[in-house]
């Protein structure tokens, strides 16, 4: 019979604290009760991974549990606060605690969508279609609005007619990569959420 480690007990304790308190159990009884609960947990035998909450910038660490089902699909079973973190010590707010509903959602955009000028609806299209078109747009707008030399004769090599904005939901490395690419396309209009 498996026994709960300190960390496992903490996890059980957070979820089961109010029920245990209501039952008026003493500490020893609580441990015994938790050990029983553990056997019923959906996460038993699951893969334990680490993440960080996607919402505000407190940076609460998360523990995420997944399992590969018989059809080969990886299922996200549970997200909870990481008890080892010096930032959140296992705690989460209502947003972090419902992060699973952001991670897996029937509201997700499933495939690339295209809306032609003046069209009244979306059209589902292929990745190749949108990426080709966007690349053509970028090149056309870049070439049309590129300023190599300004009115004072200074070399400025800037693309004035394209802007990029976003990044607060990026991993840092994606953000860095976006900066590297956008600056190399000559963009000066570059922005993320720091001001807004």
């Amino acid at each position: 019979m498996p026994t709960a480690t300190r960390r496992e007990f903490l996890k059980i304790g957070v979820a089961g604290a109010s029920a245990l308190a209501a039952a008026g159990l003493g500490f020893d009884d609580a441990v015994a009760e938790s050990t029983k609960i553990q056997q019923q947990l959906r996460i038993a035998g699951a893969k334990e991974l680490h993440s960080v909450c996607p919402y505000c910038a407190v940076g609460c660490s998360l523990v995420a549990y997944t399992r590969q089902n018989s059809d080969g699909k990886v299922e996200l079973l549970q997200i909870e606060g990481d008890p080892d973190s010096p930032v959140n010590e296992g705690r989460l707010c209502p947003k972090g605690a419902t992060a699973m509903q952001l991670a897996v959602s029937p509201r997700r955009v499933e495939s690339p969508q295209y809306r032609a000028p003046g069209a009244t609806g979306w059209k589902s299209v292929s990745w190749d279609f949108v990426l080709d078109k966007i690349a053509q747009n970028i090149k056309a707008s870049r070439d049309a609005t590129f300023v190599a030399t300004d009115g004072n004769g200074n070399t400025v090599n800037r693309t004035e007619g394209i802007a990029f904005a976003g990044g607060a939901a990026f991993s840092s490395e994606e953000g860095y990569f976006a900066t590297k690419l956008m600056r190399s396309l000559g963009l000066v209009h570059l922005e993320q959420q720091a001001r807004v």
Binding site: L49, V52, P54, Y55, C56, G59, V74, L76, V87, E89, C93, P94, K95, S105, R107, R108, V109, S111, Y114, R115, P117, G118, W122, W127, L131, I134, N137, T145, V147, N154, T155, N157, T159, E160, A163, F164, A165, G166, G167, A168, A169, F170, S171, S172, E174, Y176, F177, A178, T179, M182, S184, L185, G186, V188, H189, L190, E191, Q192, Q193, V196
Partner: protein, 805 residues
């Protein structure tokens, strides 16, 4: 943050302005409560609304939104007039003793050098009086010279008496005086105060000076650089810190290097115009000295073999903007017909505003719009929003399904600069692709088009380094290594930015992250946390140096040389930052040479990153004044009690006016009530509108209305009301509350209304509403104007009217 979340537990006094951490950062707020419960710290909350934070504060001050410069000004004046500042710290660790040259002046709301036609300052007179021989600033350590920063500052702030502060802020004089007494005690070496703020301070036309006001107060009290002290910005998005550091921001390159300006031809030109300059013989000026090395190493990292000494390391590959190119400028350019394409990722312009209706017009002026997001946004759907005739919108729109945070690895950097690595937990849903794979793929296709068809200046595109196993699918691990940088001679990862060179032999992607990913591995993955506090936090100060990695160099409290006195002893031995043990500095990672003896007459001053070597009470780094000054919001019901002739910021950039568009600012005659916008616990900007549990908790949009005002209009909670500004309207439910109330400001009664942002025409709530959330965008109300320095929009103070529908 100069400090970090867990460090707030070390404070004796916590000033919270422009923030509601109990609501917006509730898990971080545990450290405020630990300070209160474990060490008896006091919490002072100044806010227009009585919030969850106010409910557990020791003192709540109802303050008129946008007047925190006056509030801090009153506190600074109290500290100066009563000699409550930390004397040794102020003389030795700030520029209080520096002399300012003749010509600097301040009269009737204007600093010297103002040009009314350009609405800008020539800041030449905001400079130090320098020694002709050395070029260094003259100093008077007695602080008595009338041209010393200290005396000029004392004079400047003398106007902020408790009565004046009360008249501007609406805070009763007695309440203000009680807080001033508390704050005044924090200049003692064994006391420390922290200031915590969020976008409630930044979202004003005086936003930059609001932050500076807090920093000035903290320097006077000797609280910068100390555990439990500092200026701490609570940031709102999971990785806004990381992606500011990595410079998705028009004015910077990675690591806060300035974007080059037109006219700079060489690295030397660039450094001369961008880097801090040494203004004291004992200033190390570390940033200034190394600026060129950081820049060259970045260029070498980006352009590889194409960056050589003979071509100034491809300096001309970096675009040089003509003028401001920040958030509002993008839409201003689109309104002018000069912006063809916009790519948005994880942020929705239509909801964010300001002036959402004008922004939506701007989106309709684009030739093309790309939205990369996991879920639909008000921008991806703007062309068929309620009331819009889709057939008339000519913008070509692309919606690209991007992956969520949990479908990829990589790091998130929190408000405290802790870069924490996360695993890829699940595979992408549907056809979703990672943002960086989308960008890599697009870039490769653009490159192919230039290769086959030619075009304008393809050089940076052709030579950009793409040293990834699969150029279309770079791994974030590969990019993290690139960001750290390496020695091109040995192939080894750099261990410190101090070793970067300007001869093309080293690379970095972002010098402040050098040291995060060594040959031994990725330090951002480290997990030595509270499972063993004794081993992992030996000083008990909460540094947890083996948990993740924080920039710079894993330092947990910035400017920490200032946590110790002139001899290197902690100001408060019970709360050491770094201390000198006779041979080296121990504690946190020192923000100082590790073995520099503080008794050496040549020892560097404590603030090694700036030219002065000390904290700046007076600064020429701002465009709107070397000292903070209170200006009214652009839309205000009262004239500035200090200088009615220059009531609002004289240098805030007025986009519509400059572009010749009609005026979109309202007056108190038509729009008599002050409004401010904010967030709720269940919300994160706009994405949470897709999360069922959170929508259940906050199902409908509402505005908070003070009970007294609601009474005069016959409005009850649950009634539908229309709130309108010169720019637009919202039609939502009324929540009548005593959390807001009448205030007396400049002798008249004013009311403030509270408006949570979040709702719009996309999401679960909108789907179930008959109007489909047609008039739910809070930012339809907010003004298209921003801070004079940063152009951060004035989301937090504007004028509206209120009607029952």
């Amino acid at each position: 943050m100069t400090n970090h979340w867990r460090d707030i537990k070390n404070a004796d006094l916590i000033l919270i302005n422009g923030a509601n951490p109990a609501e917006a950062h509730p898990v971080g707020f545990q450290w405020f409560m630990r300070a209160k419960l474990d060490r008896g710290a006091k919490i002072v909350h100044a806010d227009p609304r009585f919030t969850r934070t106010s409910a557990v504060a020791d003192t709540y001050l109802r303050i008129r939104t946008g007047t925190d410069v006056a509030y801090f000004g009153g506190l600074i004046n109290h500290v100066l007039q009563n000699n409550l500042f930390h004397d040794v710290y102020v003389r030795n660790y700030t520029n209080a003793s520096f002399l300012v040259k003749d010509g600097y002046a301040f009269n009737d709301g204007l600093f010297s050098g103002y040009n009314a036609s350009t609405r800008s300052y020539n800041i030449a007179s905001w400079s130090y009086d320098t020694d002709a021989a050395t070029g260094f600033a003259k100093r008077d350590l007695t602080l008595q010279n009338p041209r010393s920063v200290f005396q000029l500052m004392k004079q400047h702030y003398s106007r902020y008496s408790p009565d004046v502060v009360s008249s501007i802020t609406g805070i009763p004089v007695d309440d203000f005086n009680k807080v001033a007494d508390l704050v005044g005690q924090m200049g003692k070496p064994d006391k420390v105060m922290t200031i915590v703020y969020a976008v409630g301070l930044t979202h004003h036309t005086t936003g930059g000076q609001l932050i500076r006001s807090g920093a000035v107060l903290q320097l006077l009290l000797g609280n910068m650089g100390r555990p439990g002290g500092g200026m701490n910005a609570e940031r709102g998005h999971a990785n806004i810190q990381g992606n500011t550091d990595h410079a998705i921001s028009w004015e910077i390159l990675p690591g806060y290097l300035k974007i080059p300006a037109p006219g700079q031809k060489t690295i030397a030109d660039y450094v001369a115009q961008s880097a801090p300059k040494k203004s004291d013989p004992n200033s190390w000026n570390f940033f200034g000295l190394n600026y060129g090395k950081f820049m060259v190493s970045t260029l070498k990292g980006w352009y590889g073999a194409a960056a050589t000494k003979s071509n100034e390391f491809a300096f001309n590959f970096i675009p040089k903007p003509a003028s401001n190119a920040s958030w509002m400028t993008i839409y201003d350019q689109a309104l002018k017909g000069k912006m063809e394409g916009l790519m948005l990722s994880g942020m929705t312009a239509a909801s964010i505003g300001p002036d959402s209706n004008q922004v939506r017009q701007a989106l309709a002026n684009l030739k093309w719009l790309v939205v990369m997001d996991a879920l639909p946004t008000t921008s991806s759907e703007f062309w068929h929003a309620p009331g819009v005739d889709a057939g008339q919108v000519k913008t070509e729109v692309f919606m690209l399904p991007a992956t969520h945070w949990i479908e990829k690895d990589g790091s998130f950097v929190n408000s405290g600069r802790w870069s924490q690595w996360k695993d890829q937990v699940i595979p992408p849903q549907g056809q979703a692709r990672h943002d960086h794979w989308i960008l890599a793929d697009i870039f490769q296709r653009v490159k192919a088009l230039y290769k086959s068809g030619g075009g304008k200046f393809p050089d940076p595109i052709m030579s950009l380094t793409f040293d990834y196993k699969d150029p279309n699918k770079p791994e974030l691990d590969e990019i993290a290594k690139e960001i750290n940088g390496k020695d091109l001679g040995t192939g080894k990862q750099m261990t410190s930015f101090a070793n970067l060179k300007d001869d093309g032999t080293t690379t970095t992607g972002d010098w402040i992250y050098t040291g995060s990913y060594l040959d031994s591995g990725n330090l951002m993955k480290r997990r030595a946390g509270i499972q063993d506090p004794k081993a992992n936090d030996p000083t008990g100060m909460g540094f947890y140096a083996g948990w993740a990695w924080s920039w710079p160099l894993n330092r947990r409290v910035m400017y920490n040389r200032a946590s110790a006195d002139l001899d290197g002893k902690a100001w408060d031995p019970s709360r050491p930052g770094i201390t000198w043990n006779g041979k080296s500095w121990v504690g946190d990672v020192p923000d100082y040479p590790a073995t520099m003896d503080p008794h050496d007459p040549a020892a560097w001053l404590p603030f090694i990153m700036n030219g002065e070597g000390v904290g700046r009470l007076f600064s020429n780094g701002m465009v709107d004044g070397p000292f903070p000054e209170h200006y009214e919001p652009i839309e205000s019901p009262v004239a500035n009690p200090l200088h009615a002739a220059n009531s609002a910021s004289p240098v805030a950039f007025l986009y519509d006016k400059a572009a010749g568009r009609p005026d979109r600012f309202g007056t108190a005659t038509e729009f008599p009530y002050i409004a401010t916008s904010y967030r709720l616990t269940e919300h994160e900007h706009y994405v949470t509108q897709h999360v069922p549990h959170l929508v259940q908790l906050q199902p409908k949009p509402f505005v908070e209305i003070p009970a007294e005002l609601a009474g005069t209009k016959g409005i009850k909670s649950g009634d539908r009301v229309r709130v309108s500004s010169k720019r637009g309207k919202v039609e939502v439910l009324a929540l009548v509350t005593k959390r807001l109330g009448p205030m007396t400001v400049a002798g008249q009664t004013v009311y403030q209304i509270g408006i949570p942002i979040h709702w719009g025409y996309v999401g679960i709530s909108a789907d179930s509403d008959p109007s489909h959330g047609r008039y739910w965008l809070a930012n339809a109300l907010t003004p298209f104007v921003g801070d004079a320095n940063a152009r951060t929009p004035e989301f937090k103070a504007f004028l509206v009217n209120l009607e029952k529908i």
